[in-house]
Amino acid sequence: MTQYLFYPGCAMESSARAYAASLASVAKTLDLDLAEVKDWNCCGATEYLGINLIPAYALIGRNLALAAQQAKQQNGAGAHTLVASCSACYLNLAKADHYMAERPVLGDRVNEALAAGGLGYKPGTLKIRHLLDVLINDIGLDKVREKVTRPLHGLRVAPYLGCMVPRPDYDKRWSDYEQPDELDRLLRALGAEVIDFPLKSECCGGHMPQISPNTAFELIRRLLQGADQYKADLIVTVCPMCQMNLDAYQDETNRHFHTHYRLPTVFFTQVMGLAFGADPEALGFGSEIVDARPALGRIQTTPVASGPVGARPRAKAEGLPMPGRRPEERER
């Protein structure tokens, strides 16, 4: 069985504890072996890059160097895959690996800095992948379906990926930059009704609640309105930052726009665990600010007969090409 190196990131220890707990449960069910990178440091999120470039890349570089070292000890010449669960961490790790190769002078500078700590990293040593990618493409949906004991019939979910997973996608791992369907397919495999959520890769506002709140509230409002229009019970996300913004700032956004949205936002691993029959509390349900339990009450024991969920009229493939899912993917 492949062992993956795993980079959890700071949020998994605090605001995204539910993600960490549910991932542990799901990984066990699916025999996913994740070995945490020892003594990893913060990836710098979206903050360090804007302050001082070489230190920002050296900060990420230390994680890459530690992970590569550990991979060598554990797997010899074998699999060198580093898995990240947080979108910003995933992008930062992938970005450093990519740019250190694309711009060798950056690679040299970063290695000069790493040498001060007795470390070094050769770009390309590790494959950087997001957890969802590993679950879909390595573990596979057949195995996921096999483990479902409590299908999520009747639960209408909005699959929400946010920006930094499908973009900029240096390794071309995702089905589409703007309308990727990986999360939809996973949630459908769990028996949920998946709405065709057009905002699935729009921005949650990132760090804007702290910097320019009105910018953030508008981005959050768009997402809530979108999910609400399609009558979603639940927004399912893959990113701690997205979860935080949609959940913790939903109240303030409502006050700002005089709206009354109540859309619980949970991690995809939490709903996976639920479908696998795990105890909701052990999966971190209850730690969200906008309570998800009423939505969970809508899960039914038998499949609900319904037409295509949230199907929206789409323009025919004539005229100008517009971003959208390729037709052959819609039915999957």
Binding site: K95, A113, M164, A248, R255
Partner: protein, 194 residues
Amino acid sequence: MSATDVSPAEPNHNLRFLEEVSAATAGVSRLEMCIQCGTCGGSCPSAADMDHTPRMLFAMIRAGMREEALRSNTPWICVSCYHCVVRCPQGVHIADVMYTLKGMAVRAKLYRDAKAPEFSQTFVDAIESYGRSFEFGLATRHYLRHFPLRLPGMAPMGLGLLTKQRMSMTPHRIDGIDQLKAILDRAKGLELTS
């Protein structure tokens, strides 16, 4: 005026700033390739709050308008959503250029709104002393300083996060903090030029 009238010894200030920005960007920025099509601004979810659309900003950089470009709030409003990056016909690394401009504005002290650079700096300070980020301390310091009026309305949420153990009161310090500090200290003396 013919081309020969320009003395090669004369510094070309216009060219310089564009080159400076490009060289200081992590990958190969491709900023020189911008064709001013406006796809970036049209794709940008936060363009409404920006002083200049990314396209305008890049035109200013090309025109050598150093101070105006570094004073623009655009890089600070950019949420790094990468919509423009995947749509740009010229493959310009737009989001990374925004990071470069932030760093330059910080060094030149040319930003107008201190909230964003101070937030980033507080975040960076925490990383430099602990190796991990520290949401509780960071959030409290930041809100007290910049948004005291939002605090009463936010208290229930903050309390919720605390009681649900979603914010830690004490930061976690990594074992290799001295190693990390040595790396970052060395890194601070290095610059990206080519």
